[in-house]
């Protein structure tokens, strides 16, 4: 992603000091993970776009109060994102139906940008739709948005171990849905696995 934690914190400090170019760099760094997290929870790409930009505007407005929260900027930003998505889903009476999304979203995708078959892509959408909201949040934050377990835990307001457990169960459910064989014994992660990030 091009920026390490120290660089991000430096940009945050500069942005909080009024350096708007620093906030621009933060947008460039985080907009794709935020968009992907949002897109995992809402139906329409237009809604994902609207929500993503509103999240960054909210972050800009709230940045003066970011100090002394004791939460990494990524966790703080995704907490804003998660709250925004929750509000959106509730107020619009929308429930992320990714199976429906998978069917509809085909119109947004150029045919040649899929390295795997369309059927396989749609199967992932269906598999994601059967996860619980919290499992989907864990996958969206950890895999699609690329957060650490700690950042995902901060964003979800949960313990890190809880997020690892949600992720573990989500991966198992996805594997079952997609008919992917389990890894060999000793390769499969568990919430306690030392290899599980």
């Amino acid at each position: 992603m091009g920026l390490d934690d120290a660089a991000i914190e430096r940009l945050v400090d500069e942005a909080r000091s009024g350096d708007a170019s620093a906030f621009g760099h933060l947008f460039d760094h985080f907009h794709l993970p935020v968009y992907r997290y949002v897109a995992c929870r809402v139906r329409r790409s237009s809604d994902a776009e609207d929500l993503t930009q509103s999240i960054f505007v909210k972050a800009l407005e709230a940045l003066p109060r970011y100090e002394s929260r004791g939460i990494p900027f990524g966790g703080w930003l995704f907490r804003l994102a998660r709250n925004a998505v929750i509000d959106f889903v509730r107020t619009s009476h929308e429930h992320a139906d990714l199976a429906e999304s998978a069917e509809r979203a085909g119109t947004d995708v150029a045919p040649d940008d899929l390295a795997v078959t369309r059927q396989e892509i749609e199967a992932v959408g269906v598999a994601l739709s059967v996860l619980t909201n919290e499992q989907r949040d864990a996958i969206a934050l950890r895999f699609f948005a690329g957060l650490s377990a700690r950042e995902a835990a901060d964003a979800m307001g949960k313990q890190e171990g809880t997020v690892r457990g949600l992720q573990f169960r989500a991966i198992a459910a996805l594997r079952r849905q997609l008919l992917i064989d389990a890894p060999e014994a000793g390769m499969s992660g568990s919430p306690e696995s030392p290899r599980m990030p």
């Binding site: 708007a20 002394s68 895999f143 650490s148 377990a149």
Partner: protein, 213 residues
């Protein structure tokens, strides 16, 4: 984002990782046009702060405003509001209403309970603005005040999470305001009805969440 998280998928899960990545690339990646639109919106938010601070280069220098200018804006707007000189231009729906809201936000105290009280004060101001606007038939002002109410409430609810005193203060306020909002939904000029309904929904949901915590 630390290094240990970069690959949340275990060894042996490469096939699942490949499919998730393909899904993300195909269905969860904004187009270049969408990215440009999002960035433009953020730049506009930054630029509006810069222009309000009367920074000469703000219109042409993207992401160019400085904290000193923003501080001047906050101070200037605060003085103007106190003096009443800018009352018209900062009323709900007026051009500087957003800047006024921003000024309120950047001047919020940091101590959580004190900040919660300040947020409660802001919510009550928005309610009063919405009532005044509704009484005078000013749909635009009512709409702006109610939209601001929902935004402030969402932020306040997030801020008080985990602080029982602050949560109780917010809950007590919302318990009063939900009645006013229900009245506004019935009486506000029609163009502001959606904003009133959303404010009421946000209030009800926040109360539910506070009760659940």
């Amino acid at each position: 984002m630390d290094d240990e998280m970069r690959d949340p998928i275990e060894p042996g899960e490469e096939e699942l990782a490949r499919r998730l990545q393909a899904y993300a690339d195909a269905r969860m990646t904004p187009s270049d046009e969408a990215t440009a639109r999002m960035r433009a919106t953020v730049e506009t938010a930054l630029g509006s702060l810069g222009r309000a601070a009367h920074e000469p280069a703000a219109a042409t220098r993207r992401f160019g405003w400085r904290r000193s200018a923003a501080t001047l804006l906050a101070g200037g707007l605060t003085l103007a509001i106190v003096a009443g000189a800018a009352a018209y231009s900062t009323r709900p729906g007026a051009p500087f209403y957003a800047a006024r809201l921003w000024t309120e936000a950047v001047n919020l105290p940091t101590a959580i309970v004190v900040r919660a009280q300040a947020e409660v004060d802001r919510l009550e101001r928005r309610i009063q603005e919405a009532r005044d606007a509704s009484d005078s038939g000013d749909a635009g002002a009512a709409d702006a005040a109610l939209i601001a109410y929902s935004t402030i409430l969402t932020e306040a609810a997030s801020e008080v999470d985990g602080f029982p005193d602050a949560m109780a203060m917010l809950e007590a306020t919302l318990t009063r305001e939900v009645v006013v909002l229900a009245f506004l939904v019935e009486t506000v000029p029609e163009p502001a009805m959606i904003a009133a309904t959303q404010a009421l929904q946000t209030c009800n949901m926040t109360l539910d969440e506070l009760n659940d915590r």
